[in-house]
């Protein structure tokens, strides 16, 4: 009889930019100015989009909408490291990912306004439609990665999801399959601390979500999700590893949803104001601005110009969204199957012209 230790593991947390905007240069080299500006512009656009979506919803011009306030760094920092042929499988709280990748802003509004044509992804972008069922898109990302590996396409596939999704069976089945088959997929969990009213300690008894990757046989890392440079660094490393055949990686972005779960939710019922305030000072956009100010990258003119440009983009998109003619009734039928069934063809006639 003997007892021996067969495995031990460490879980790393990466943070390089503190709340005051100081960069830890022992961990990463300062990102180049153009990249910093792009990150900033994408984060501002995400913030402005989010603000506008919330106000449009209150005015009854948009349906239920899930805010990304506070999660801009996790989304922009990772998406900005993607390349055009890469595939992205978003959940439903990834407006910042869509905007960073250049998704048509009017279509994003259109989708949240209840018009499915908003999810007709442009042909030059490989983003899957928004997935409202929690965590179930994870196996789809694994499948796309398997197909890419089969085709020998040197791309990376990314799945975004929240902490709640890690409680689902598909999270386990998907990560397990990805590990077994060594697929080029990166799982990015935005641990925003709350799955509607259930805090992360109600989702898992594990100390971190990142450590779950160990059980599937690949690397997991926790990063400061409000630190755009840390997120970007971890994502870039994981993407390179995947593209070069190194298999999957799991990234937990430790962040916070500052807003309600959706516009149909009131977070005041289940969480304390002082907790929210404690996170508000860690605002990822403020943190980046402080860094940029220290580096002389943020003049008042530039700041105003970026904001104005974002407002203009969003204004234009809202106008375009509201100018779209309403969807035709044929749209009900067109995309159920590649061809209408005989019964559908009759039903379409009835819907269009009244009962025969």
């Amino acid at each position: 009889m003997s007892e021996e230790v067969l495995a031990t593991f460490d879980v790393k947390h990466l943070s390089v930019l503190d709340v005051e905007g100081n960069l830890d240069r022992t961990q990463i080299a300062p990102p180049d100015d153009a990249l910093v500006r792009r990150m900033y512009e994408c984060m501002v656009l995400s913030r402005v989009f989010d603000e506008r979506a919330l106000s449009l919803q209150r005015e009854g011009r948009l349906g239920t909408y899930p805010s990304i306030l506070g999660q801009e760094a996790a989304q922009v920092g990772s998406a900005i490291a993607l390349e055009q042929p890469d595939w992205v499988f978003p959940a439903f709280r990834e407006s910042g990912v869509h905007l960073t990748l250049g998704y048509p802003v009017d279509q994003l509004f259109q989708y949240w306004g209840g018009d499915e044509r908003g999810m007709r992804i442009p042909d030059n972008m490989n983003i899957f439609p928004v997935c409202v069922a929690v965590g179930t898109h994870i196996p789809h990302a694994v499948g796309a990665a398997l197909a890419a590996k089969y085709r020998k396409d040197p791309i990376v596939v990314v799945a975004y999801f929240g902490d709640g999704a890690t409680s689902k069976g598909d999270f386990h089945e998907g990560l397990n399959m990805a590990g077994v088959l060594q697929l080029p997929v990166v799982f990015i969990c935005q641990n925003n601390q709350w799955a509607i009213s259930i805090p992360v300690k109600g989702q898992t008894a594990a100390a971190t979500i990142a450590q779950k990757a160990i059980g599937y046989g690949f690397d997991g890392i926790q990063v400061d999700g409000n630190d755009v440079f840390a997120v970007h660094h971890a994502a870039q490393r994981a993407f390179e590893k995947a593209r070069s055949g190194g298999g999957p990686t799991f990234i937990e972005c430790l962040t916070y949803r500052l807003s309600d779960h959706t516009t149909a939710d009131d977070a005041g019922r289940y969480r304390r104001a002082d907790e929210v305030e404690a996170w508000r000072v860690k605002d990822p956009l403020l943190r980046l601005e402080r860094y940029m100010a220290k580096e002389d990258l943020l003049t008042d003119e530039y700041r105003a110009e970026v904001r104005n440009r974002a407002v203009q983009t969003v204004d234009d998109a809202v106008r375009v969204m509201e100018e779209h003619p309403p969807p035709a009734v044929e749209d009900l039928f067109t995309h159920t199957l590649a061809q209408l069934t005989p019964r559908q063809a009759r039903q379409l006639k009835e819907v269009t012209h009244g009962p025969a």
């Binding site: 044509r117 042909d123 196996p139 789809h140 499948g143 398997l146 089945e173 077994v180």
Partner: protein
């Protein structure tokens, strides 16, 4: 032409389609080295390699979900689920995603995948190995449901399913796997999805059946002058073939091994009522299993519709 059983016919369809189209990839539990628990995929991994015939972890939801991602990426995955009762663990993937991604993406992504699974009773297998719940799947828009009734139809329909642009659930009647041998052309051929086949012509009664019940119907009806319709595709189903026959015969009996309440026979009966009632001379009857949990082996024969049940229903409609 070779005399093949259904296992061999399906294997041949898979092999030929994989040779023709390198987008066709097989995945599932035990499909590779072992050739599947019913040996349907036997020899495919040796021929096409482990990259194309993929032994997966025991994960029905991930097999189905992975196949969805592969299909959206441009492959034509064939996912084997070992038994229909095991597909329940992947219903969310199949229903919430496989069936919807074309609609949700407004046609940008489609899911040309086939889920193959043995189904139905008559093999004395354990719990959840003999389910016949095809009606669940017919209620979900965006999925086609195909059920061959023998080796010939299995090969032609599977080839069509593998070329179809939408997700297809291909249900293989387990009882028939090795029960019937038929002449099956070696050359590739297709049978169109959505079309029924009239396997016997008659004037007095229309009998609609599918899967393993077709074999039982043909053995049971004796010299009754019956149109026997093998439905083959349940969704979309060939209503016109049924209605044309009922207009001729004025009587209809529907035979399925699934239980009665909400079974697909209800859809057929309702269709006849809506569109053919004035041609009817008798009530439409359904021969189906009782509304009970699929039993284990000892009571299996009491569950399945028998020749006596089928005869009794025919006699009943012939009284009018």
């Amino acid at each position: 032409m070779a005399q093949l059983n259904m296992v061999q016919a399906i294997n041949l369809a898979l092999r030929q389609e994989m040779e023709r189209d390198d987008r066709v990839v097989v995945l599932g539990e035990d499909v590779g080295v072992d050739g599947g628990v019913f040996r349907v995929t036997e020899g495919l991994q040796e021929r096409f390699g482990a990259e194309r015939v993929i032994d997966t972890p025991l994960s029905e939801s991930a097999i189905t979900g992975t196949a969805i991602g592969m299909a959206a990426y441009g492959l034509r995955p064939v996912a084997e689920i070992q038994f229909l009762g095991f597909l329940y663990g992947a219903m969310e993937q199949f229903f919430s995603h496989g069936a919807r991604i074309r609609a949700r993406s407004r046609g940008r992504f489609n899911v040309p995948m086939v889920v193959r699974t043995p189904y139905g009773a008559g093999i004395k297998a354990p719990e959840l190995h003999e389910e016949s719940t095809e009606a669940f799947f017919c209620h979900m828009p965006g999925i086609k449901v195909v059920i061959p009734s023998g080796p010939y139809t299995a090969k032609g329909l599977l080839t069509s399913a593998l070329r179809d642009p939408d997700p297809v659930l291909f249900l293989e009647p387990t009882r028939l796997y090795r029960l019937i041998r038929e002449e099956v052309p070696e050359d590739e051929y297709t049978l169109p999805l959505g079309q029924a086949r009239t396997v016997r012509q008659g004037n007095d009664v229309t009998i609609v059946a599918w899967g393993s019940m077709l074999e039982r119907v043909l053995k049971s009806i004796g010299d009754v002058s019956a149109d026997v319709i093998d439905l083959l595709t349940l969704n979309p189903f060939d209503a016109e073939a049924i209605l044309a026959s009922v207009r001729k015969t004025g009587r209809a009996v529907i035979v399925h091994e699934a239980l009665k309440t909400g079974g697909f026979g209800a859809e057929i009966a309702a269709t006849i009522a809506e569109e053919g009632i004035l041609h009817l001379r008798a009530p439409v009857l359904r021969v189906a299993a009782p509304d009970v949990t699929m039993p284990l082996a000892k009571l299996e024969d009491s569950y399945l519709p028998t020749a006596a049940h089928i005869k009794k229903a025919i006699d009943e409609v012939m009284r009018y």
